[in-house]
Amino acid sequence: MTKAQSKITRRNDVFSGRVATRIWQEQPAEDNPYAVEHSRCHGYELLDLVKKRSFVDVLFLLFRGELPTSDESELLEALMVAFINPGPRHPATRSAMNAGIGKTDPALILPIALTAMSGKNNAAGAVEETMRFLRKQQRRQVSDVAMELIENEVRPPEGDWIIALGFGSYYNSIDVQTNKMANHLVSLPAAGKALRWGQEFAEMIASYDLGWLPVGVVAAVLTDLGFQPRAAAGIYQIISAPGLLAHGIELANKPLTDMPFLADEDYFIEE
C-alpha cells in the first residue's frame, strides 16, 4: 500500500478582512455605526431613486451600474411583463401550487418555486448558456447556423426538439405566444443584435415547426441590454417570481381536495 502519512497543516491563506462592494453604500448614522443614515446604489441616493425612478430602472442599475436609457427601460419592462408568469402548467408554477395547497409556510412558496425554476428545461437554468450561444452565433450568418443545425441535429423520437439553446418546438408546434412576444420586443428601439439575430433564426426554422422559446427571448433581451450571462438565471427568476407566487398563494387558502390527487388506477408502477 502506498498511502501517505496523514499530517494536517494550516495553509495560512490570506483572506480579505472585510467584504467589498461596488453596488451599495450604507452611510452610518452619526451616533450609531450600525444604523443607516443614507443608502446609495451606484452613487445614487436611494430616496432620490424612490422619488424619480421605476423599479425596472433600479433593477437595471443594480446589475449594470448605470441607469437605463428610456429605450432600455422600455425593453426591460416589456420583457418583465411578457414573462411575468410561466403559466399554471409550468412545473415551477405547479411546485408553487403544491406548496400552497399543502399549507407550506407561505414565505417558502416562492423559494420552492424558484428552485424548480432553476432547472435547465424551459427554465431559468438554461438562460446563461443560451446567452453564450447567442453571443457566439450572432457573429455568424443566420442561414449558416440554421442549415448546420438542421442538417446535423437529430429530432428526438419523443418529446420536443430543442434544436438550439432557446429555440425549438413546444408540444410539437411553434410556441405561438412566445413568438408573438419576440415579434413585439424586436420592434422596440432598444432591440439589438441578439434579438434581431434570434428573430431571423426563428423565421428560418419556422418551416420545421420550430421557433423562439421563452428562454431564448429572455436570453436575447438580456444580451442586448448588456447583462452578464452569470446573472441571467437569477434575472429570469425575478421576472417569473410574481406569477409563481400568485399561483401558490391562490391555492394556499383552499382545501387539499381542490387539487387532483391521482387515483391508484392512474398511477402506474413500471417493472
Partner: protein, 275 residues
Amino acid sequence: MKSKPDTSFWDQRRGKIFSSKGGWKVGEAVYCHGYSMMDDLVGQVTYMQLYMLNATGTLPAKSLADWVEAAYICMSYPDSRIWCNQIGALSGSCGTTTVAATCAGTLAMDSYVYGAKTLVDGVGFIQRTLKEYEAGKAVVDIVNSSGRFRQGKPQIIGYSRPIANGDERIEALERTRTQLGFNIGKHLELAFQIEKHLLENFNERINLNGYISAFLSDQDLEAENIYRIFSTFVASGVTACFVDTKDKVPGSFLPQRCDDIEYQGTAPREVPDKS
C-alpha cells in the same frame, strides 16, 4: 392545409403518472424499487441503505451504506465559517425554520468548488486515469498531463484543499474502510500512488473528494449516482449551525457595522430626471 401537430406523446401521459421507482397502492402496499417497504425494508435495512436505493435504484450491502454514512459524518462539521454552514447560521439569524435553513445551506453545496457536484469530476478523473494507467501511462505523466498548474503546483480534482494542507477525514474513513472489511481496489490504489507523487514533489495530498471518488469507483458506482447519493451531504452541519444562531439573540451572529463593508463604487451623484 397544414397537418395538426402530433401530440400523442403528451396525450398518452395526461392525467397519469408512470413511475419506475415505486409508489403507494392504498390498502395494498408501498412499493419501493420492487420491495414492499413495510415488509422488506422497515426494520430490515438501514436508512442509508434505503437512501442509496432511492438514489440509485439498487439496494447496497449494509457495509457500503455504513461507509457512505461515515462519509456523511465527515461532511457534517458544525463550523459556521464553512460557506454552506454559514448560510444555515445566517438563516437562524433571520429566524427561518429549521427546514428552510437546512435546505438553503444544502442548496449552496451545489457548487463547482466544493460539495457533491465536484464528485462528478472527481469520479470522472480517477476512472479515466485508471484506464490510462492500465494502458501503460506512468503516474508522473498522469500528474503532468492532468490539467493546469498554479504557482508551480498541478491543480487536480481530488487533490489539495483550501484552508489546510492534508485531510483529517481520510484517516478516519480509511479506518472505517478497514473495519468494514473493504480491500483497497484499483482506483483507490492509484489515487494513493498519485498522492504519493504529489506529496513527494509538490507537498500536496489527496482530499475527501479524491478519496470518495476512488473508493466508490471501486464499488462500481457511476459518477451521477455518487452525486445523487451525496445530495444532502452537508445538511447536518448546516442544521447544527442554524440551531446555534436560532437559539441566540437575533442579530448576534457576526454583526457588522456599516463600515465593515468596503464600498468601492461610484461616488455620490444626482439622479437625473427621466427623459
